[in-house]
Symmetry: C2
């Protein structure tokens, strides 16, 4: 294992310290491992909290800032944060107009965020709504999941509900909007290599030379099949076809996210997006906005995923609203 | 070699097509392989052109847009663009107030950009100034270079002179500013793995398990030494010490860029930046702005580089000015 780290045990603490040094506009609680905005949102607006295991950067800490999250709670690598960490974040940002917590559908996360919501309600009287993202069409259940896994739609969701909370929508509307996004987003990924969890010191799984895993999860959970690598135009089909088969994306505009898994350079992501865009065009899907880059990663895994989200004028307006975070920034 | 590509021969064309699909705000001339703004800058302002071999994305195509470049000329992977490609770009954007071309110090690039400037002057009467970036302190001469190699300072330069051109400074001032940036920027990099050029099909060089190359170039050119990997805190010293030894960075504020080489995930870049920031602080260097991420890459190489640039109020003002490109975006 060759990584830019000090010791496997200190990766989370050290990387949070680096995030804080790189982004003075964030306030990092190094003890609780929660990333906040240095300048909190105006009181009386709905708070937004997300979090999960570390290793998916810029998710979630990189999405804290005006127009997106108020707090991101970091667990150890690929491990849910604990209920008391999450409850601290909920208490810190949810005292005004309540808080929506955004949870990716993994068993540990769902359990700990639910417990945290109860804790925060009991300790600080915070009203908490929860939305669970389960958008990965690859498999119905998985190593860490009952039901589908939560992946790329999370990024789009955090942006869209972030805009709604910023403009002062109340908790019921923000939570309703979040569910609308969840119902309209679908994802599918593939891996060229495994990632290596620092504490394990070796790749989570082994792929042969020339072999890929289709339907991979962001923790290296098994997908649908292993098969030989093929030209990008064929690989694009392995992402586009299952997503389009799962939901009708031809009725109106969509936002497309072509996401890198961490170790795939932009030159390959651009190239893949070109292939994906051609297939979507041929299928009659109208891409209104697109995002190509590393947005929800899996440590040093090489590979990519596709997320499509059906949108209407309202969702597009919220998507286009200003956002100022390390991971997504425009309009301000 | 496992990559998201179709064929090694079509990587450049396919990735440019993907860039165009991902970014409708760019106009990509697929025949000449030049990336332009879809909406050109107002006439009468200095044009900015850069370019070089492909494989360093988002450099340079990802830095085309308001507040930064007007055109980026793409050569094949790690290969200079040809004089006629460059001359076409110079002619297209330089007819108003002349054009500054920004060239990284590699023998092929320097020769071809110089020839292009003569061609453009002869064919379109365009006045061309040239600035050459040679900021890598690792080695004095190298495989592709007489003198120092041009690396991370290029990104900071393109942003700063982009702002100056946007606000209407004339060619002499913009070129003078560019030389000021070049004189005040220094870089140093290290690699954990080689990159793999698609046409070669195998890594450019071999590192043993647990071995790194210190002073690596962005084409995999040899650096200063190979040594065993060490904790990030020690690796940070291998970047910071030679940069600080080469130029005094303690007299005023600096912009710091901690750059990923393409396959290193953000979690490791954050962590490294934390170590670098601590060393800079201890050395009395005052970091006024910082940038952490993949900005000038080397295909799928794992590793990172550090760039420091001495700045004053004027350079900081230009750095903070709005920029709207795929690779850098703020303030608009």
């Amino acid at each position: 294992m060759k990584k830019l780290i000090n010791r496997p045990e200190s990766v989370l603490a050290d990387s949070l310290r680096g995030l804080a040094a790189a982004h003075p506009e964030l306030r990092v609680d190094l003890e609780r491992r929660v990333v906040y905005r240095a300048e909190p949102k105006a009181a009386g607006k709905v708070g937004l909290v997300s979090g999960g295991g570390t290793g998916h950067e810029p998710l979630h800490g990189g999405y804290v800032g005006p127009g997106m999250l108020d707090a991101a709670v970091a667990g150890e690598v690929f491990t849910s944060p604990t209920p008391d960490q999450i409850a601290a974040a909920l208490g810190a940002v949810g005292t005004g107009a309540g808080v929506l917590q955004i949870v990716k559908n993994y068993t540990g996360d769902v359990m700990n965020f639910e417990m945290a919501a109860e804790l925060a309600a009991a300790e600080s009287g915070v009203e908490v709504e929860t939305v669970i993202v389960a958008d990965d069409v690859a498999v119905e259940d998985s190593t860490f999941t009952a039901g589908r896994r939560g992946v790329g739609t999370t990024v789009l969701l955090e942006k869209i509900v972030g805009a709604a909370a910023e403009e002062g929508q109340d908790l019921a509307s923000v939570a309703g909007l979040a569910r609308r996004v969840v119902n309209n987003g679908r994802s599918m990924g593939l891996a060229l290599t495994s990632s290596t969890v620092p504490a394990a010191g070796k790749p989570t799984f082994q792929l042969e030379e020339g072999e890929i895993e289709v339907g991979i999860g962001i923790h290296g959970e098994p997908g649908r099949e292993r098969r030989p690598i093929a030209p990008a135009s064929e690989l694009a089909r392995l992402l586009v076809d299952p997503v389009l088969a799962d939901l009708d994306f031809t009725a109106g505009p969509v936002i497309a996210l072509l996401n890198g898994m961490g170790a795939t350079p932009l030159i390959e992501l651009h190239l893949m997006y070109g292939e994906v865009a051609a297939l979507l065009d041929a299928a009659g899907v109208q891409v209104a906005r697109r995002l190509v880059g590393n947005y929800i990663t899996s440590l040093d895994m090489a590979g990519c995923s596709l997320t499509l989200l059906r949108v209407d004028d309202e969702l597009l307006r919220l998507w286009d609203a200003p956002v100022v975070t390390p991971g997504l920034r425009w309009g301000a």
